[in-house]
């Protein structure tokens, strides 16, 4: 337990909080990598996921991609892309890797959300005269929101974890503390960095849990609409 006390001392030491490259700067870098990659993943994967869920075509593809995304070793992708684009461009290589690893989860969430909508609901939306676009955007998308947020949540965690490894190819972020600690055999720095990473991951997960809660409310708000029409019968 003394190791944890040392890690705490490291975490609270003034040099972590003032001067150049503070702990907060590293957290900021880490969050920036994560959010940029998540945004790009969503821009790529949500339209495709909605298309697959709406038309029902390409289902096998999303399942296969989800499996491939899990099987791909992130460290391998990071190192090979860094070599290919050059160490100086490591941030670009890393962003590509983050997106590659983020897309399958978002795609699965977007697809599953739309596909799980009760067929009777979409049928009645069509019967009310909605165009396919209206069915997708006003019925399927809101009802599928909780699963989409779930997909974004696991993508975010995957990217946060991979961004830790990205320090190995010269990227900033919180992984730097662990890798530097390993090479300098400084356990306080390693452990302090690990604690900061866990805290960041848990906070991010909690934010997505909260978003998921609101997503469920959006989806059930849509449900209220249908019960009120039921009352008019």
């Amino acid at each position: 337990m003394t190791l944890f006390a040392e890690a705490w001392a490291w975490l609270t030491a003034p040099e972590q909080w003032s001067g150049r490259a503070t702990l907060l700067d590293r957290v900021g870098e880490h969050l920036q990598y994560t959010l940029v990659a998540l945004l790009v993943s969503a821009l790529v994967a949500v339209p495709i996921g909605y298309l697959v869920g709406h038309t029902g075509r390409g289902r096998q593809l999303t399942v296969a991609l989800a499996g491939a995304g899990r099987a791909l070793p992130s460290l391998g992708l990071l190192t090979v892309l860094t070599l290919l684009v050059g160490i100086g461009e490591a941030d670009r290589a890393a962003t590509v890797v983050f997106v590659v690893l983020g897309v399958p989860s978002v795609l699965a969430g977007a697809y599953a959300g739309v596909e799980n909508v009760d067929g009777a609901v979409t049928d009645s939306a069509r019967a009310m005269g909605m165009t396919p676009w209206q069915v997708l955007l006003r019925v399927e998308a809101p009802l599928g929101l909780p699963l989409l947020v779930g997909g974004l949540r696991s993508a975010a965690l995957q990217i946060v974890a991979t961004a830790v490894l990205a320090a190995y190819v010269g990227l900033g972020g919180l992984g730097i503390y662990i890798l530097r600690g390993i090479s300098l055999r400084r356990y306080d720095e390693m452990l302090g960095g690990a604690i900061a990473i866990v805290a960041l991951a848990i906070v991010l997960d909690a934010v997505f849990a909260l978003l998921g809660y609101f997503a469920v409310r959006v989806a059930s708000g849509q449900g209220r609409l249908s019960t009120s029409t039921e009352g008019h019968r």
Binding site: V63, G76, L165, I178, G193
Partner: protein
């Protein structure tokens, strides 16, 4: 291809180590996930907290977990045991939800019928609930296996040799082919584990058809991954 042909001995050695490092967490993860998974299924009120707690474990990035475990357990940071424990933690964290989902997917009518036939709660669990939960359990275990094989590679950063060694060595020496060999070999190993699990499923669950169940497919789709 040339690099691989010139280094088959090294790759084979690393692949064997990698497979060994993967098997323990997969098997242990499955066994250790059963009690909490069953508890979460039996006690509805405990379900939320149990699943949330294991979900939280899964949010810990792998490299951070490799650093956190040694002081908690009292082992050396460079010990292979460190990687085995960390990967078992992930396997359990992923598997608990699958166990609960799998048991939840068993038709309640079948369970009532078993009770009516005179099964005790204990006997019914082993003879009826668990076998019928098999397909979804298998789907969950396949996810665990594939992500474990992939995560083993991260261990190289703390000195545990696996196919991940080809990534760090390849980067340092600037050999793209070495890293690509490592990625392909890791993927092949994941496929091998997956095929073995499917074959085991056919053997143990001969009554299930070829098509995956809906719940099984959902497990395959939505289970997350930690890098």
């Amino acid at each position: 291809m040339d690099w691989f042909l010139a280094n088959t001995g090294l790759v084979a050695d690393l692949a064997v180590r990698h497979a060994r490092l993967s098997v323990v967490p997969i098997v242990l993860g499955f066994l250790l996930a059963l009690p909490p998974g069953v508890l979460a299924w039996r006690r509805r009120r405990a379900r939320g907290p149990i699943l949330a707690a294991f979900g939280l474990l899964y949010t810990i990035p792998s490299l951070a977990l490799f650093v956190l475990i040694p002081p908690l357990v009292g082992i050396s940071f460079l010990s292979e045991l460190n990687v085995l424990i960390a990967l078992t933690v992930y396997a359990v964290a992923l598997m608990v939800r699958s166990v609960t989902d799998a048991l939840e997917a068993v038709d309640p009518a079948v369970r009532s019928a078993a009770t009516a036939l005179g099964y005790s709660a204990w006997g019914r669990f082993w003879a009826v609930d668990l076998p019928l939960a098999g397909p979804v359990l298998l789907a969950g275990l396949r996810v665990v296996a594939v992500s474990t094989v992939s995560l083993v590679t991260v261990g190289v950063l703390i000195g545990t040799r696996s196919l991940g060694y080809l990534f760090t060595d390849g980067l340092q020496r600037g050999i793209v082919a070495e890293i690509v060999t490592g990625i392909v070999a890791t993927l092949l190993l994941a496929v091998l584990f997956d095929v073995l699990l499917v074959a085991l499923g056919r053997l143990l669950l001969p009554w299930t058809g070829r098509g995956a169940t809906r719940a099984g497919r959902r497990v395959q789709l939505t289970a997350g991954g930690a890098g």
